[in-house]
Amino acid sequence: MSSTATPLKQVTRKLPDPFNNRIREATVIPTEETVELLRQATKAASTSLGSADALELVRVAHGREVSAEACERLRARFNAKGQVVEDHHYQLFTTLSAITLIGVFDRPTFVHGLLPALAVRSAGAQRWAPVHPDVFTHAEFYIRERALVMRRPVAADDFKHVPKEGEGPDPMVEIKALRSSLLRDRQLRDESEHLIWWVASRELPRSSTDAAAEFESLLGFVPEPNGAAELFRAKLRDDGDPRPPSRWTFGHDPIPVELRDFCPLLAREPQVAPPDLEQALATLNELFLIRALKDRPIEQ
């Protein structure tokens, strides 16, 4: 960065650009070239993002401490196309991490963002403050959109095979797609039936953890449906009549080392206490985190 005098008047037509709005958390008045360089850095950092780095980005974006190696690795991602982050640029590092995550959440495919989005939600439940509020809102939007996409009814042309140029139609591909669509359709139907049964059943889970584990075991898709809070409310409603305790104990998989700080509710000693809506939802999120990590394990 050169240290030349810059006039107050600078014609910048892209002021309301969300990127500029976010990068202002770590800059004063960056030049167009600097902004472009930073933009490229976040793009480069979000490509081929593995589970380990995604979780570290969430930690950094919330101002949490990460290991020196992780810092080094992430900084190298940002500096892949040119030196933009120095060792002492902590605020810039944090801000770029946040912007990178937002970039991942804004992608139209719903593959890479699930684990970090759930981790951001867990961070929010623990009152970790992100460097920019957009991290939370975009993660939440990603989760809700994914919930819709995953449960989208099977459309008539879902299994249509569009042959590549020069290739003829492939009936085997269509049959495979049809089978998978039917399977998904059945899973959808099963999930909604299970949920109806769960809400209608008078058995009351013994704790928030049990309520979350019961609910999670009924779901065919991650994350929870967008009406989950309402379903929980209906299930936990106290109508005055005594209710029998639930006969089911689902338990949960052990918490992977990589997720320990994101799963504080599951990590504590099991407690028998009337289930609480907020805690049950936060615990459900932690269970999803474990499930998501199983699907996309930390790369070695």
Binding site: A5, P18, N21, Q91, T137
Partner: protein
């Protein structure tokens, strides 16, 4: 007999080693002040931005912001309204000890502050423009590092020439062309109390301040949030000396500005602060109001601009379902 290139290089190396040894033997030990001077020169030669302690350019201020979240403050007002004097007085006030529970923890622009203090007392001096006012193209950013309750606060204050804001108020330039305004966590619209106390200038001062606020509000994208705007009246001692008439002139100016802001942002609360940096009144101490000003700037240091997901506009989930922290 001719020497090979290898032998040549060897001979050169030996000669240079002998020279170095001789220089070491005859060298006079460097004194502390010489070492400091040399270090400063080296730092200056390398272009270290704060080696001279003068006000910073955008890129240098950006270095500070990249290290830690900096609170950016911009004082907007006409030439001679007292913007620079107010900033100088804030710095001077720390010379007498903590201010409003803030401890001075350093500055990368000590020399810049000293120059401004000199100019604000003697009316002229190095680094100033006409009549000692801040020069049009002067480096703008002054830096203070403060500590408050174990929290470190990086304060970056833009000291721009009043001519810029006069151009904004007159409409010859647009606020959207000043990205500093949008970046600012706090924009202090400065009203010159001395002008309000002068019956011949009071109306013009009211109008100019109102026009500046109006120009700003006309372009909502030019500033972060309406709450970032604060009205600061300088030279409050002169308003007190001016009696009832001056007081009424100030009340009128504030009413006009408040109404203007309320008409665009009914829910925004806009504060005002009275200051007298170089008070000539017995009733007001020197640096009156700078503590309030500092509290205003550091109590609400962060103004992040939220951007709902673009796709939310077209989604059944909807953009209104997303509010940070809920």
């Amino acid at each position: 007999m001719t020497e090979t290139p290898e032998e040549n290089t060897k001979a050169e190396e030996q000669a240079s080693a002998a020279e170095e040894a001789a220089a070491e033997e005859t060298a006079v030990p460097e004194s502390d002040s010489e070492a400091l001077e040399r270090a400063l020169k080296e730092a200056g030669a390398q272009g270290a931005p704060w080696s001279r302690g003068e006000a910073l350019a955008d890129s240098e201020a950006g270095e500070i912001a990249a290290e830690r979240r900096a609170t950016v403050v911009l004082l907007a007002g006409g030439t001679g309204s007292g913007k620079t004097t107010l900033l100088a007085s804030l710095y001077e006030r720390f010379g007498r000890g903590p201010l409003a529970a803030h401890l001075f923890d350093g500055s990368r622009t000590l020399h810049g502050f000293e120059l401004r203090c000199h100019r604000s007392i003697y009316g002229s001096g190095p680094g100033g423009g006409e009549q000692g006012h801040t020069a049009f193209g002067a480096m703008p950013w002054l830096h203070l590092r403060l500590r408050r309750d174990e929290r470190t606060i990086e304060l970056l204050m833009g000291d721009y020439s009043g001519e810029h804001f006069e151009a904004l108020a007159s409409g010859s330039e647009k606020p959207i062309e000043f990205p500093q305004l949008r970046r600012a966590d706090h924009i202090g619209v400065v009203i010159d109390g001395g002008a309000l106390a002068n019956p011949a200038r009071a109306m013009a001062e009211q109008r100019e301040a109102l026009e500046l606020v109006r120009a700003l509000l006309d372009e909502p994208e030019a500033y972060a949030v309406p709450e970032s705007i604060t009205v600061i009246v300088t030279k409050w001692d002169l308003v007190l000396k001016g009696g009832e008439r001056a007081r009424k002139a100030f009340d009128r100016a504030l009413e006009l500005i408040s109404d203007e802001i309320a008409s665009r942002h009914p829910s925004a609360s806009v504060g005002y602060i009275e200051t007298a940096a170089r008070s000539t009144s017995d009733q007001l101490p020197l640096g009156h109001g700078v503590d309030d000003l500092l509290l205003r700037w550091t109590d609400v240091p962060v103004v992040p601009i939220a951007n709902p997901p673009e796709a939310a506009k077209y989604s059944p989930v909807g953009p209104n379902n997303f509010k940070a922290g809920e």
